[in-house]
Symmetry: C2
Subunit: 149 residues, 2 copies
């Protein structure tokens, strides 16, 4: 089974391969915040497991299997980013945390989050009233529906 960190690598390769179709060790190291040596090592593994085509010193690219993985990882992440930003988490942080969350959540949790995001998205009005209420609640600390007693 693929470790969670391995998924990060795959997703990183996926992002960095946009356009060129491949990426390099140093780019990965920079994006992932590790040393090139660590990247080499992980690529070796990912290659053995059939997720990447790894030509040492030349390039890395994803296999079909790798692309599949990247996409599902990406999809999971998008849900989370949407959700987190919807409830007011700053984008940067949302992206960071989503990246962590995507690995570890139980499928049932992800399913519910996915539904929740769709619930917000498919809402008739552009921004549902309750979400606006929530934003106001964040600003003022008071629930806008509360009667001023």
């Amino acid at each position: 089974m693929l470790g969670k960190r391995a998924e990060d690598y795959i997703e990183a390769i996926y992002s960095l391969s946009k356009g060129k179709g491949y990426t390099k060790v140093k780019e990965l190291a920079t994006l992932l915040g590790v040393k090139p040596a660590s990247v080499s090592e992980m690529l070796e593994k990912l290659s053995n497991e059939g997720y990447v085509v790894y030509r040492k010193r030349l390039f890395v690219s994803l296999t079909d299997k790798g692309i599949e993985t990247a996409k599902s990882v990406r999809e999971r992440r998008d849900i989370l980013v949407k959700f987190l930003t919807a409830i007011g988490v700053p984008k940067k942080v949302a992206e960071h945390d989503a990246c962590i969350l995507e690995h570890i959540l139980h499928p049932a949790t992800l399913t519910q989050l996915k539904k929740f995001v769709r619930f917000i998205e498919t809402s008739p009005s552009v921004s549902p009233r309750w979400l606006e209420h929530f934003r106001e609640f964040c600003r003022t600390g008071r629930h806008p529906c509360t009667q001023k007693v």
Copy 2:
């Protein structure tokens, strides 16, 4: 700095100490799903770091420092469990995932989740309409406010 797994141990000790005031290796091993040997090992560390009083072969209990830690871990987790169950994640799963989430989320994310839970809790009606709508959305797949066109 305390590893994330260490926090799990502390929280487990906290739970299991309710009443008796202490707990035993085997109980911890069972609750955490690891072998007693692993517990021994971790207790050694936690003891060195001043989180627990560990009398080998006799008992383990939390120091004040440990209790503090346990409480804040617990608080974080409660927020998450509440949130997850609110959006329809089964309790068991919510508890499991919360346990993972609590370690890794950015403070900003936790802050927003905390607000979100309070938003739900302080809502004037027992269960806000939008939450009910969400539940219906989960059941039917359709947003109840949608006009039947």
